[in-house]
Symmetry: C2
Subunit: 313 residues, 2 copies
């Protein structure tokens, strides 16, 4: 079997079987935005506390293109997408390890700019870069960041219940629309969407706020369709989404919103009674019994959502 046939998510399922059930106070292993480890017992502390661990990688010509991405922006984005994973657990980011896979002919200035971009957003969110690794990678430039954060209680993907409302912070599709512009016009015409593609801003405050009430939460890295598929699969529920209620970024299409990804806003579920407490979040649908994810258009027609979101193979 070739991995292109089984796909990323099939592969992860098989890996989980080999890896087995984790020990050592692991609260949450493979399969969420971040892993969570219990670091203080409830006996000695007022609130239990969890360490969050996550990692994300950017590979040249897969996740970025040096024709329109600057190194400062790549550093920013590498840090931002990892912070976003911690935000999606309701956590605060703390420490980062950075791995650089570098070609031989690279300019020192470019690498330092990468760190300057990382540092700029790290400062905003109180993150310290504390280590990493530099290796030679003659054919492919890549960057990996590992993020350690903490939280009072992780918001998993698996907690959504039939009857919950589905909410979203901020708009969808902007990053996807921005990427299309960059591919077409390069950096000449730099719209807000293009900027949000190159330098996304993760939603740590919203994640923290939502963590008090959310039954499930995920960050939108691979499109709204993938967010819903992940939450529904993990929670063993279905969903109805009201097409007209999906907040679209200016210039973005419904397809950008559903399949585009890289918006790094947050999608969450919460009991209807908590909706008014989630200020700034917009209701876009509701959690249903069963497994179906249904998109309801403005005129009431229903479409089954069979989209796979962005798979990496």
């Amino acid at each position: 079997m070739n991995i292109a046939n089984i796909g990323e998510f099939g592969l992860i399922r098989k890996i989980k079987k080999i890896v087995g059930k984790p020990k050592n106070n692991v609260f949450l292993g493979i399969g969420d935005d971040a892993a969570a480890v219990k670091v203080r017992s409830q006996k000695s502390e007022v609130r239990s506390k969890y360490m969050l661990l996550t990692t994300d990688t950017l590979v040249e010509n897969v996740h970025f293109d040096l024709r329109y991405s600057k190194f400062y922006e790549l550093g920013w984005k590498l840090m931002a997408i990892n912070i976003s994973d911690v935000a999606a657990m309701g956590g605060m980011p703390k420490y980062a390890l950075v791995t650089l896979g570098l070609k031989k002919n690279m300019k020192e200035k470019d690498i330092l700019d990468l760190y300057r971009g990382m540092k700029a957003i790290a400062n905003k969110f109180g993150v310290s870069v504390i280590g990493g690794d530099i290796v030679s990678s003659p054919k492919t430039l890549f960057f990996t960041l590992d993020m350690i954060g903490d939280c009072a209680k992780p918001v998993k993907r698996s907690g959504a219940r039939a009857g919950d409302m589905i909410l979203a912070f901020e708009k969808f599709g902007g990053s996807s629309a921005g990427l299309k512009e960059l591919k077409k016009f390069g950096r000449k015409k730099m719209s807000q969407n293009a900027k949000s593609h190159l330098m996304p801003v993760p939603m740590v405050k919203n994640g923290l706020k939502a963590s008090k009430y959310a039954t499930a939460m995920i960050d939108n890295s691979d499109g709204l369709a993938r967010c819903l598929i992940e939450i529904c699969a993990a929670s063993k529920v279905g969903a109805e989404i009201f097409e007209a209620d999906i907040p679209l970024a200016k210039g973005a299409t419904l397809n950008d919103a559903l399949d585009g990804g890289e918006d790094y806003n947050l999608v969450l579920t919460a009991s209807p009674s908590k909706v008014k407490l989630l200020k700034g979040a917009k209701v876009i649908g509701r959690v249903t019994r069963g497994k179906k994810i249904v998109l309801i258009s403005g005129d009431g027609r229903k479409k089954m959502m069979a989209r796979k979101g962005f798979e990496h193979f």
Copy 2:
């Protein structure tokens, strides 16, 4: 300036300047085998406790060659070299995140074998694989592992003092000699050295034992010369090494020991009064004032060690 000119260690110095002094209870940032974060205060606990964080990457045709490395062995090695970094701090490994940068045409079985190899050594050392990331990397296969461990008190590279003895656990040069054999004969003639190159065993117990007495410690990933250069630079001391006392693996040369690396044994310094407590470790030299690293041959002749160890560019 091109990074090939400035080199890995020069680049790290410049990155450290940009990154700045870390906050958030960071005890040890960039520049040691692992970073260390204080997780419990001495007020509330009998012993202070530190979280250790480290990451290491294997890149195809840089760190491994699929003509003589099997995926099971690569998984083992990826896990082993990260455990070794934790061992070199006097710590216990706990959690791992794994990033796979995969080509499209890969076989599922190979990836699962990689995890089987990781799991085999993870089980020996009580490590749980709790997360990671899978990305497409069309031209270059790479694997990154991030390791989280803990310890009572990290043994830094910077604690060596003039007058300390330099000790080593286990033999040097075996991995380098084994790699030469693999390049020459492939897997036909599989010596102990070749096996130790493909599946090194990290020294967690020795590291833990040594951590009570060691003033500085490092794992031998890049050769004995590089170990001494790193400890001496961090501790602002020099060293005298007695050539005849360097324990060589059977079939290994002095050059294998000094420059080969990948033995993943431990090099440490300790006060002369502690030497007899460090059972199993062999004295190979002593720490001196000044900056010189001197190799003393059997007939008393002195050679300045100007070797750079293995640099990645």
